[in-house]
């Protein structure tokens, strides 16, 4: 018996109705009684020493209740961060990047807060900052972070934050075996998340508790951060995390919640800070990179070695950037069998927006470099660009990264499908080119997800879990698992999320993990219920439990088949009640692993592009864009397509148009929607085809793998390759704007 909405179908999105009626409440839609409106005091400089902050005039504005400056905060300045506790609540004596908050106003109205912000007088001295990799590495460069903040760090007296080394084998010993060696450098610029919902935060002190509302992806991490900063027990911090309006990594970690918490505690009133879109450019971005790839190959195109150096330009505070850079660098050699690999990565501090997780987690930058270099090698060797990839792909089960999860899919199927869909061997029209590229990302390396499923007496169910549904559709997929396992229609299931006082702990919503990790947890909670139902059936029917089988909504025993709900109703009797199941999915740290954990799964994608370049304007027109992912099992095919298409178009954004521009003083010059363009419906490829390979070979329930990032990992190199074939141009920096392409064409002639 299959209940409506069970696994493999595409029922209406759970929460979809509220999303089309406007009833869905995001943080900014929630108001608290007696709330104060907060605004940030900033200066228009990339780096400056703060001499004084005079709030006298600002305090006179009617309705102003608080102007929080560093002197109102504990000394030394409290700091926090997911990797290093380096981010201060407010700029600590020095503005270290454009837009770092210096003070904050809380007032009865937004207007009063804005007026007061304009009246706060900040005296400062502009300091020279470092805004690029070269400037940061200059031996005479000022230090972004004072060495005292970085005790016991080997590079504390430079702007290098961390160096990491991965790899296997000895390059020196094998170099001679390569017939062909190529070395190239590729750059990837700063881009920003641009979630349509800007970050928003509210904090309300209530008795001995703090209630916090945030657009955060990881509510439990926010809870831990605030508990430590404020010395409160976790139980006294209640985090509400309404479904975010898009996250893409930019909402993973705490940002301004601690500041708002201090303001709420100082005033004793709820404080609300809704960021502007411009301010989000000063809050989150992707690391820009310079990646040097040196590849050694045989004349037949077999890879001999890969020697890669990655430099990630991170911001003034680390946030999660070290993890991004190390985790991505670790898979720099990509989905290939390479006998010897040497990877040296660095994160480099700069006076720019702190970089953080962003869909693809550092991998798109490296993939751009690796796949383009591989194409250049194929051209040099006279080997077909598809063939050079196919021949180096590991078979399923091959441990292509020694000591890590073996290749967990039949990746050749994915590549062949993409090649077929783009028509790789078909003749090309004049002025067009094709490109194909592979992307590989290591899924979550650790995880801890608890869940509770309550099967109620009327055959409906509640699911409690700490995942954030930021558009990926976790509510729907988790409901489908329960529909499948309880044999009840999806319409009778509600998913409760986003309240740390109600739902059990979940480590985080990131790395395309939720279907696999929380999905397994919910599946196990259902199995827990199955066990209880079996005991009920055995009691009711006087049977041995061993002779009773409970599976997929049905209870079976000698000759009989009953729906779970029927057994439960009989078992519960006239008092009614419910059957409660708990689930846990734990992926522990592996201390000896270079990333402290092997990949739960790999996200593997092949993107193929056909493009045309206008030689008058340099404009690239994408004729056809094919993305194929290895998804294991699509629990909800419609949502899988939605994720895949969305990531593909986001990939076209950083490939064709997106870049954050700074002036020589480190000020971002294109904040907001007018000057920073993301793709619109008018920028779509003439044809976009999203397909997937399903072999039910993932670690998640029913063989699922994570799917939300794959199709932006290798968009850029596929487009770059198509442009090269169309024009003969090799461009090694992004985005491929008409201007850049046009200039390259002009230079070429």
């Amino acid at each position: 018996m299959t209940a409506n909405g069970s696994v493999g179908s595409s029922p209406n999105r759970v929460g979809g109705r509220d999303r089309v009626t406007g009833a869905q409440q995001y943080v900014a839609d929630i108001h608290l009684v007696d709330e104060l409106q907060a605004k940030l005091v900033k200066i228009d400089e990339g780096r400056a020493r703060i001499i004084s902050i005079d709030t006298t005039k600002a305090e006179q504005v009617p309705g102003v209740q608080l102007i929080l400056t560093p002197k109102d905060l504990p000394h030394p300045m409290p700091r926090f961060g997911p990797q290093y506790e380096d981010r201060p609540i407010l700029a600590d004596g020095e503005v270290k990047y454009h837009g770092e908050p210096i003070a904050a106003v809380a007032a009865d109205t937004k207007e009063a807060a804005e007026e007061a912000v304009a009246l706060v007088e900040v005296e400062y001295e502009v300091l020279p900052g470092v805004f690029s990799i070269d400037a940061a590495l200059d031996p005479d460069a000022d230090l972004v972070q004072h060495p005292s903040l970085r005790p016991n760090e080997p590079f504390a007296h430079s702007n290098i934050k961390t160096e990491f080394n991965f790899g296997w084998g000895d390059i020196g010993a094998i170099e001679g075996e390569a017939d062909y060696v190529i070395e190239r450098k590729y750059e990837f610029p700063m881009v920003t998340h641009f979630a349509i919902e800007p970050h928003a935060f509210m904090v309300a002190p209530e008795g001995d508790e703090l209630k916090v509302w945030s657009t955060i992806q990881h509510p439990f991490q926010l809870q831990k951060t605030l508990a430590k900063l404020l010395d409160l027990p976790l139980s006294k911090l209640r985090i509400f995390a309404p479904d975010p309006g898009g996250g893409f990594g930019g909402k993973q970690h705490p940002k301004l919640e601690p500041l708002v918490a201090y303001m709420a505690m100082k005033t004793g009133r709820p404080v609300r800070l809704i960021m502007s879109l411009e301010e989000t450019f000063q809050a989150v971005r992707r690391s820009s990179t310079r990646v040097r790839v040196r590849l050694g190959l045989t004349n037949d195109g077999d890879m001999v070695f890969n020697d890669t150096e990655t430099d990630y330009l991170i911001g003034a505070y680390v946030d999660i950037a070290d993890r991004v850079a190390s985790k991505a660098s670790y898979v720099a050699a990509g989905p290939y069998r390479v006998p010897v690999v040497k990877i040296a990565g660095r994160t480099i501090l700069s006076n720019t927006t702190p970089t953080t997780a962003f869909r693809g987690f550092g991998v798109p930058q490296i993939t751009w470099a690796r796949e383009c270099t591989l194409d250049e090698a194929a051209l040099g060797l006279g080997i077909d660009r598809l063939e050079i990839r196919r021949r180096n792909l590991p078979e399923k089960g091959v441990e292509f990264i020694p000591g890590d999860t073996p290749a967990d899919g039949d990746w050749r199927q994915t590549v062949d499908k993409a090649a077929e869909l783009i028509g790789w061997d078909a003749p090309l029209s004049e002025g067009r080119g094709r490109g194909i590229a592979l992307g590989l990302k290591s899924g979550p390396t650790t995880g801890l997800s608890y869940s509770t499923v309550r099967l109620l007496a009327d055959g409906s169910a509640l699911v409690f879990c700490g995942t954030s549904d930021m558009g990926q559709g976790a509510r729907t997929v988790l409901s489908q698992i329960v529909a499948q396992e309880m044999g009840i229609p999806i319409e009778r299931i509600s998913v409760i999320m986003g309240d740390t006082a109600i739902v059990p702990y979940d480590q985080q919503t990131s790395a395309s993990r939720s279907t696999v990790l929380m999905g397994t947890s919910v599946y196990r909670a259902c199995k827990d219920i199955h066990g209880k139902v079996r005991a009920m059936a055995s009691r009711i029917h006087g049977m041995d439990e061993a002779d009773i089988d409970v599976d997929g909504g049905t209870v079976r025993f000698t000759g009989e088949e009953l729906p779970i709900v029927e057994v439960v109703q009989e078992g519960l009797g006239s008092l009614g009640g419910e059957v409660i199941g708990n689930g846990e999915m734990r992926k522990d740290k592996e201390p000896d692993h270079p990333l402290a954990g092997s990949a739960a799964f790999f996200e593997f994608n092949c993107t193929a592009i056909e493009a045309e370049v206008d030689d008058e304007t340099g404009e690239i027109q994408i004729i056809k864009h094919v993305t194929v992912g290895d998804v294991g099992t699509a629990l909800n095919p419609q949502q899988v397509h939605g994720q895949d298409e969305g990531a593909a178009i986001m990939g076209l954004g950083h490939t064709l148009m997106e870049v954050m521009i700074h002036d020589e003083m480190g000020r971002i010059r294109n904040m907001g929607a007018i000057d920073y363009r993301i793709p619109t419906s008018k920028d779509l490829p003439a044809e976009l085809v999203s397909d997937s390979i399903e072999n039910s070979d993932g670690p998640g329930p029913y063989g699922a793998k994570g799917v939300s990032e794959g199709s932006l990992l290798c968009t850029a190199p596929a487009v770059g390759a198509a442009v090269r074939e169309a024009t003969g141009l090799t461009i090694r920096d992004l985005p491929l704007t008409p201007q850049r392409v046009w200039e390259a064409m002009r230079e070429q002639t």
């Binding site: 209406n12 009626t21 406007g22 998340h193 879109l277 559709g473 419609q638």
Partner: protein, 158 residues
């Protein structure tokens, strides 16, 4: 304090009379004064379309309109699309093809599409892309949104 002005407007089918501050945008008034938070705020410079509402049949960025400008006019926001709890054909189509992901851009997309379909029930895909070109979505690849609008157009023709 800014000057307060009395206005009368039809909002989502209901005649209403209320005071607005002269400097408040329609977006401010819808969200903060009338509690119609379905209309979203993102860029506030008329570039993202999240705040789109329909004024006298035309899609407008409510962040760029002063509230006083709606005096004597008809305004429809996303809350006004469903009747008696029944989704409009357009809303149902969005739901059926899973067009909303995070959903934050969706009210704006719906309002642009609603106004567009009043004028054109037989659009090409390019027409839809053009009509919704001012509505940014960062989650989806616009394909499912376009499909929904085409589906609603078809249903409207039948």
């Amino acid at each position: 304090m800014s000057e307060v002005i009395h206005i009368e407007a039809n909002i989502n089918g209901r005649d209403r009379a209320f005071e607005v501050a002269a400097n408040h945008t329609l977006l401010d008034v819808l969200r903060d004064q009338l509690g119609l938070t379905g209309t979203k705020e993102c860029c506030v410079v008329g570039e993202c379309g999240a705040c789109t509402v329909v004024v006298d049949g035309m899609p407008m960025n409510s962040c760029l309109m002063l509230a006083v400008e709606i005096d004597g006019r008809d305004v429809i926001s996303v809350e006004g699309l469903a009747t008696d709890g029944r989704l409009s054909t357009l809303q149902q189509a969005f739901l059926d093809v899973s067009a909303p992901q995070c959903g934050f851009c969706i009210p704006g997309q719906l309002m642009s599409a609603h106004a567009f379909l009043q004028r054109n029930l037989d659009p090409s895909i390019e027409d839809v892309h053009e009509a919704l070109g001012g509505n940014l979505c960062r989650c989806a690849g616009y394909l499912q949104i376009t499909e929904a609008v085409m589906l609603a157009a078809k249903a409207g023709r039948e």
